[in-house]
Amino acid sequence: MIAFEHLRKRYGSTLAVDSVSFEAPDGMVTGLLGPNGAGKTTALRALAGLVEPDGGRAAIDGHDVRRDPRAARARLGMLPEAAGLYDRLTVREHLEYSAALQALRGPERNARVDALLDQVGLTPIASRPAGQLSLGQRRRVALARALVHDPPNIVLDEPTNGLDVLSAREVRHEIRRLASAGRAVVLATHVMPDVSAVCDRIVILARGRVVASGTPEAILARAGTAALEDAFVALIGSEEGLQ
């Protein structure tokens, strides 16, 4: 389970994240929605321990990210927005490197790497350097890397960005599979079809604050609209109107 409690992060004079609190329970996909600059990526980076929050806390399965960063990080798999691959390493080498850094060794590591390559459909191109991969293939390598240590909590930042219809569909299926295996999944996105297809719960962020949260049905009811996209616009707009 992933939990944010009154998390705050300031960049200069901008309050990027302003007292954000929400939970992502196990076995569910929690959609984190918001316009660009709403603070999604900053909140997720604070969760991964990549930025130091100014206040509040983020915890993974009860491990405070600041007090026990390595235990927290070991229970988290994260797919950042940019794949961040090494062009001169092969697909298999990427997974081997990550597995080694996750303390997997010897036969256990090889078995895990083989299984993952199979799971994300990369076995045929396992020995190809990442520099020669397509965008969809790169995203799949990054996803496999995030899963290499079989983490109970998974964060995906814009996982279908730039993917073609088929690849995006494949990724959505993978997300559902991860949640039904009992993991807590957070999906940060602004792609509405992703949200309606896979999210059990929705948290809407605007200007660094949580403006609405609940099941898709509850969100629609609160906004009084029939489509999620309209609800999204209505909720963000009303918030901006209040300020």
Partner: protein, 388 residues
């Protein structure tokens, strides 16, 4: 996972990637070759200039001054008859020098009065000028010899008319002269310690930040210090390999028969090379640590590269300052990183005994600075994270 294991996993991956980057690797290794080769060319040119003096030929009418002619012949000077148009031939650069003897030379000489000879040369022609200087020295020596004989015949000690006796003693040893010729070598060696790991440091810090792979690396449950240490170790390994290759090529160049054939006692024994390596290794580690820190603080790969290229001037600075004489060796320099290595390497190349105590304290200071740079890098990585 142990701390040490994470470090070696990171270092192993960085080395694998760096070795596959043929272009960066090639340019670093190419440097190791061209430095000593340029030095070899300079050395050959210097050796040619400073080699044995060329044979001296003078146009001289030996019938007019047989005594002087015998003296000159005894000093391995070739005498040729004076042509009619000696001055014109010298101006046309077909004859170097002529020594004209006055018609009444023998009369004056016999009467112990100054006898006149005229030295004809072209002062604007370097080779004529240099030969004229040699003829002047020979004439002065002959004059002194004759004067001394005359004084003795008159019962006067030649010492009475010489208030001063000037002896010249060049204290530089043979290998000291070689070090003068090898002045370029310390700079090339110091440069190799700065260039060897530069490209790798820029790529593994600024490059990874730009390509966002630093972010995915930091997501792993690995101490930041292990990441910094692993990357530094990989860049240092490349840097030490470059230093080793530079030393090996320098040694090969200096042992080349073309260089050895000159009358300059240059040479770099394997023990010398090993001592130089021991002096350079801590500096290579410090240079790489500083480069990793600078590369991490840069926003882009290009920015890192610009800053690291400017750092190349650091190892060249003491060389220039010493060469232009505005810097004198002082005790504190021998344990200051960079200056200390410059001084120590210069001493080793002059054939001075290895200064074990100073070298050890220099290494200790350099390695402490390295540790501080690595600690600062870890702090920066922790504080700033993977973002721009």
């Amino acid at each position: 996972m142990t701390w040490w294991r994470s470090t070696s996993v990171v270092a192993g991956k960085e080395l694998r990637e760096a070795v596959r980057d043929r272009r960066s690797l090639g340019s670093a290794l190419l440097y190791a070759l061209w430095g000593p080769l340029v030095m070899a060319l300079a050395l050959m040119a210097l050796a040619r200039d400073r080699g044995a003096e060329p044979p001296l030929t003078i146009a001289f009418d030996h019938a007019k001054a047989a005594g002087l002619a015998a003296f000159l012949a005894g000093r391995q000077v070739t005498l040729v008859p004076v042509p009619d148009d000696a001055a014109a031939l010298i101006r046309a650069r077909t004859l170097h020098v002529a020594l004209l003897v006055d018609d009444d030379y023998l009369d004056e000489f016999g009467a112990a009065r100054p006898a006149r000879v005229t030295l004809v040369y072209d002062g604007s022609w370097r080779e004529s000028d240099a030969r004229a200087a040699r003829v002047r020295r020979l004439l002065a020596e002959y004059g002194r010899l004759v004067a001394d004989t005359r004084l003795i015949l008159r019962g006067v000690s030649p010492g009475a008319v010489s208030a001063l006796r000037i002896d010249e003693r060049d204290v530089s040893t043979a290998s000291g002269r070689a070090a003068t010729l090898l002045a370029a070598l310390p700079i090339f060696l110091l440069l190799s310690a700065f260039i060897g790991g530069m490209g790798a440091a820029a790529d593994m810090m600024a490059g990874e930040r730009e390509r966002a792979s630093l972010e995915s690396l930091l997501l792993h449950p690995v101490p930041r210090a292990a990441i910094v240490l692993g990357k530094w170790a990989a860049a240092s390994a490349l840097c030490l390999a470059t230093v080793t290759l530079t030393l090996a090529v320098s040694q090969a160049v200096l042992r080349h028969p073309r260089i050895q054939a000159f009358d300059v006692p240059v040479g770099l024994s394997t023990i010398d090379a090993a001592q130089l390596w021991i002096v350079l290794a801590p500096l290579a580690l410090l240079a790489t640590a500083a480069q990793v820190l600078v590369a991490l603080s840069a926003r882009t790969y290009k920015e890192a590269h610009t800053q690291l290229s400017l750092m190349i001037f650091v190892p060249m600075l003491p060389g220039f300052l010493f060469a232009f004489g505005s810097l004198e060796t002082r005790p504190w320099m021998s344990w200051t990183p960079m200056l200390g290595q410059h001084v120590t390497i210069g001493g080793l190349l002059r054939g001075e005994p290895a200064p074990f105590t100073t070298a050890a304290s220099l290494a200790a200071v350099t390695l402490t600075a390295t540790a501080l740079a690595l600690a600062a890098t870890t702090r920066l990585l922790d504080r700033r994270g993977p973002g721009r």
